[in-house]
């Protein structure tokens, strides 16, 4: 993995930037203590073109984040497993926004991704949307390591912060009855407060919009919906794997 990361970086880093990174990682590997690691991990953001986008392993990174992944992998290579977990956890505790985003995307490439489960769960409780989405979107971490409780909270939080569910990997596979109850209660609360449902609430039902409570919601909310929202309901009803009432079929022309 480490060679693969460096190969991608090599193509975009300028010669001085590459030399800087190699120098830093040599210090991290050879010096005692963690000062070199902490400083290098932060200082990456001060290198030229830190924001330049780079494609890596099928997703979009930038020069800064990928250099940070390289630093973590180099640190891992030269230190004992326990020390790696302890130190990276410490870095997660005090990361700034971009560092936290990078860590969330990086855990999957470390040797013990599950050791950082609590950190990733914490990132899913944030109200800072880019941090939340670094876990939720295009990241295999939740589907691999979250239990059902963690998974369901992730989905609810996505709707809460008005993020989209579509880039969540394996959303449909991990749909479960308990999640549906949570989604239904969430919708009932919103409707009681006369607030709209999040855009992806109907998509969230997968093929289970035949649930009696979901049908009830579709019926009660109809008058408040815009045409495009009605189309979302219609999509969900069409996908339903169980029978839909005649009334709903007429209402949404299913």
């Amino acid at each position: 993995m480490i060679d693969k990361v460096f190969e991608v970086l090599e193509k975009t880093l300028s010669t001085p930037a590459k030399e800087w990174l190699v120098d830093q990682t040599n210090s991290i590997a050879n010096l005692r203590g963690t000062k070199a690691l902490f400083l290098a991990f932060s200082l990456v953001s001060r290198q030229p073109n830190a924001n330049q986008e780079i494609e890596f392993d099928g997703s979009i990174w930038n020069q800064e984040a990928l250099s940070r992944l390289y630093i973590l992998l180099k640190f891992q290579e030269s230190h004992l497993a326990d020390e790696v977990i302890r130190t990276i956890s410490l870095m997660a505790d005090t990361s700034d926004i971009n560092e936290e985003i990078c860590l969330n995307k990086s855990y999957q490439y470390l040797t013990t991704p599950e050791a950082y489960l609590a950190k990733v769960r914490e990132s899913c409780r944030t109200n800072v949307v880019p941090i939340f989405e670094s876990v939720a979107h295009g990241n295999p971490y939740p589907v691999r390591y979250f239990d059902e409780e963690g998974w369901n909270q992730l989905i609810l939080k996505a709707l809460f912060v008005d993020s989209t569910l579509r880039p969540i990997l394996s959303y449909k596979d991990r749909f479960n009855a308990d999640l549906q109850i949570m989604l239904i209660h969430f919708a009932e609360e919103r409707m009681a407060a006369d607030r709209p449902l999040p855009a992806d609430w109907w998509y969230a039902q997968v093929d289970k919009a035949g649930h009696p409570d979901v049908q009830k919601i579709a019926l009660n909310i109809h008058d408040r919906l815009s045409e495009s929202e009605k189309a979302d309901v219609r999509q969900a009803l069409l996908a339903a794997g169980s029978p839909i009432s005649e009334e709903l079929k007429q209402l949404y022309t299913v």
């Binding site: 932060s42 953001s45 505790d93 005090t94 926004i97 971009n98 109200n127 949307v129 809460f160 008005d162």
Partner: protein, 304 residues
């Protein structure tokens, strides 16, 4: 447009942020300081530093204000030796993060041996990493404390133009400027320095290397001190060019040396809105409409 280069936002309310944005403050620097009472564990410092590089920055951005900070062990808490040593160990985890514009605020409170030790150690760190330094000068025995702060900075090889000496008054100002340091002036409604005295200082010394700030915190202080002082300068016929230097440009030039404090950050910032991913969510707005929070055309001054 104003910069308040010294304000302790964690102690301020959301109303303050709204008023600051309306008054034209586009960027703030939050120096790490004490909390009004001493911390008892280094863990409290970790969380505090994390907060000012993380959540507080996000909170400010919700009001359209670009937030920066300085990181350091303050002089008051430097008197707890064990804690001071632990904080020195923690600093490398924070000082080079994005938008950390200086080491600070460091310096003297009672000018004790321990304050001196940790001030010097942090100056060494600043020198090693080529960082800007923000120096807090003592309120008691001010004149000697201020001169000593400068002597020690020079002794450790810091160039004066990378050091901001803050909380000046009529007595300290001349020496600080003569020696080539930046001179910060904290405008407090009653004590340190008020807007009226500030006008006189600018008339006497001109705008070179003078920086006005509020140091607003948990005490009786004014988060609008910078725009208010600018307004008073206008009333006294001080030119716009001079006003801009002491309430905006000098701070930008001094802290801009860090490479972390860029005008483009706030000039090009997207206005906070529900669609802008950084600002959306239920973070702090709790369903309120952002338009009500943001400066409107009528709010061109804070004196309406």
């Amino acid at each position: 447009m104003y910069i308040d280069p010294h304000i302790h936002c964690v102690s301020r309310t959301t109303d303050d942020y709204i008023n600051m944005a309306r008054a034209g403050i586009c960027a703030v620097i939050e120096p790490a300081f004490w909390l009004g009472q001493p911390r008892t564990t280094s863990g409290s410092f970790v969380d505090y530093f994390s907060m000012i590089v993380g959540w507080e920055r996000f909170r400010a951005s919700m009001y359209g204000i670009s937030h920066y900070c300085t990181i350091g062990l303050n002089s008051k808490e430097a008197n707890n030796e064990k804690l001071g040593e632990e904080v020195m160990e923690i600093l490398p985890r924070f000082i080079c993060k994005e938008k950390v514009v200086a080491i600070g605020e460091i310096g003297y409170d009672e000018q004790t041996k321990l304050e001196d030790r940790f001030y010097r150690e942090q100056l060494e760190l600043a020198k090693e990493l080529d960082m800007v330094v923000l120096v807090h000068t003592p309120h008691r025995d001010k004149k000697r404390g201020t001169y000593k702060s400068m002597d020690v900075a020079i002794e450790h090889g810091l160039p004066p133009d990378k050091v901001i000496i803050d909380h000046n008054n009529e007595e300290t100002c001349k020496e600080v400027l003569d020696r080539g340091f930046w001179a910060g002036f904290t405008i407090y409604p009653r004590t340190k320095m008020d807007s009226r005295r500030m006008v006189e200082i600018v008339k006497q010394y001109g705008p070179e290397r003078i920086i006005v700030d509020s140091s607003a915190d948990w005490g009786y202080s004014d988060p609008l001190a910078v725009p208010r002082t600018a307004e008073l300068m206008r009333k006294h016929g001080i030119s716009e060019e001079v006003i801009k230097m002491v309430t905006y440009q000098n701070a930008l030039d001094a802290y801009g040396q860090s490479g972390q404090f860029k005008e483009s950050d706030w000039l090009n910032a997207e206005k906070p809105n529900q669609k802008n991913s950084f600002f959306k969510g239920n973070g702090i707005l709790r369903g309120s409409q952002l338009e009500h929070l943001l400066p409107s055309a009528e709010d061109d001054t804070i004196y309406h």
